[in-house]
């Protein structure tokens, strides 16, 4: 049977039998894969190192007849070791993996692999605030799911302008004009445009007043 090589990020692990594990991994070329990792639970196994969750590994695997393939070998390409040095970063990291695992289908979608990869980069850099990583990730998931809010026109189809105040209509994913006490200004909308444009969290840190923007825009990302 043909052996295939790809880069993967581990999404989930569960044990199988006495010494085996089933890994759910995300590959840019093959999408979400379930692979049987034989003997990983045995300490001396060359596939061991299951604790290294926040990493990109190059793996060799064989596609099975059914849903589950078999892992042949793994090589750690990049481990984001700074994430697990901080409890809050670790917890957010697990949460993002969980969210992504729930969102994606089995089909290959390289954008999701890249998204998680960039999220690990940001979590690994302790200068990037967690609130930014969290908001950025939520925005990218929305964008990739095809639900980017309308950041160009208001409820009447008029162009969003700099001297107006707006509120956000989450049902229709658009801004509505509220000249008296709208919560959002042109600066917030600019910030959101940058966020949804797919800039990395590190790049987003260049935005002036990023701390205030994160606080002001957080209601838009509250779980609905």
């Amino acid at each position: 049977m043909k052996q295939l090589v790809t880069d993967v990020i581990i999404l989930a692990r569960t044990d199988y039998g006495e010494a085996d594990r089933i890994l759910t991994v995300l590959s840019p070329e093959y999408g979400k894969l379930r692979l049987l990792a034989k003997g990983v639970r045995r300490v001396k196994s060359k596939l061991a190192g299951g604790i290294e969750l926040f990493s990109v590994s190059t793996i060799t695997f064989v596609k099975g007849r059914g849903e589950i393939g078999t892992l042949v070998s793994t090589r750690l390409s990049k481990h984001y070791s700074q994430i697990v040095k901080d409890l809050q970063r670790t917890m957010l990291g697990y949460e993002l993996i969980k969210q992504l695992n729930k969102t994606i289908e089995d089909e290959p979608e390289p954008e999701y692999f890249e998204l998680l990869h960039q999220a690990f980069e940001a979590l690994d850099d302790h200068t990037v605030p967690l609130s930014l990583v969290s908001m950025w990730f939520a925005a990218q998931l929305t964008r990739l799911g095809g639900h980017t809010p309308n950041l160009q026109t208001d409820e009447q189809g008029r162009k969003l302008v700099s001297d107006q105040l707006y509120d956000f209509d989450s049902e229709h994913m658009r801004f509505v004009t509220n000249p008296l006490d709208g919560a959002f200004t042109a600066n917030h909308i600019k910030f959101l445009r940058l966020l949804y444009a797919g800039n990395t969290p590190k790049a987003m840190m260049q935005v002036q007043g990023i701390g205030k923007m994160l606080v002001d825009c957080s209601p838009l990302f509250a779980v609905r």
């Binding site: 692990r13 044990d15 300490v43 299951g50 604790i51 697990v84 040095k85 917890m91 957010l92």
Partner: protein
């Protein structure tokens, strides 16, 4: 009881292990997450007592791995840690609940007697 004790500080680890052994428990002391997984694989366990702040992998990373094995999914875990317990709605508290953490003992405010009493309570529950 058979207790896995994950304590990165050698002196503290020795002290807790001695006290727990004197109380009649079998203790497997380790100093990091990887050693803890290996020890758990080698010994049947009734309880895990652990520091959250560990070298190279923190306690949450250990718990993620530990709980991904079916046969370890029900073993009670006690945090005995320098990380202060947070309010019930904090992310840490939620995670603790999610991973079946039965007690969160803040080390600077927990006496050896209190630790032993918590362990004793677990021993009574499983007997």
């Amino acid at each position: 009881m058979r207790i896995l004790l994950i304590e990165p500080d050698a002196l503290l680890g020795k002290t807790y292990a001695k006290a727990l052994e004197a109380a009649g428990h079998a203790v497997y002391p380790v100093r990091n997450a990887q050693a803890a997984i290996i020890a758990a694989d080698e010994h049947p366990l009734d309880l895990v007592i652990m520091e959250l702040q560990l070298p190279s992998h923190n306690g949450i990373a250990f718990l993620q791995e530990f709980r991904s094995y079916h046969d370890w999914s029900d073993i009670p875990v006690v945090f005995h840690t320098f990380a202060p317990p947070h309010s019930q709605d904090s992310a840490q508290a939620i995670v603790a609940k999610q991973y079946g953490v039965t007690a969160w003992l803040y080390k600077p405010q927990t006496t050896l007697a209190q630790l032993l009493s918590i362990v004793h309570r677990h021993a009574v529950e499983i007997s």
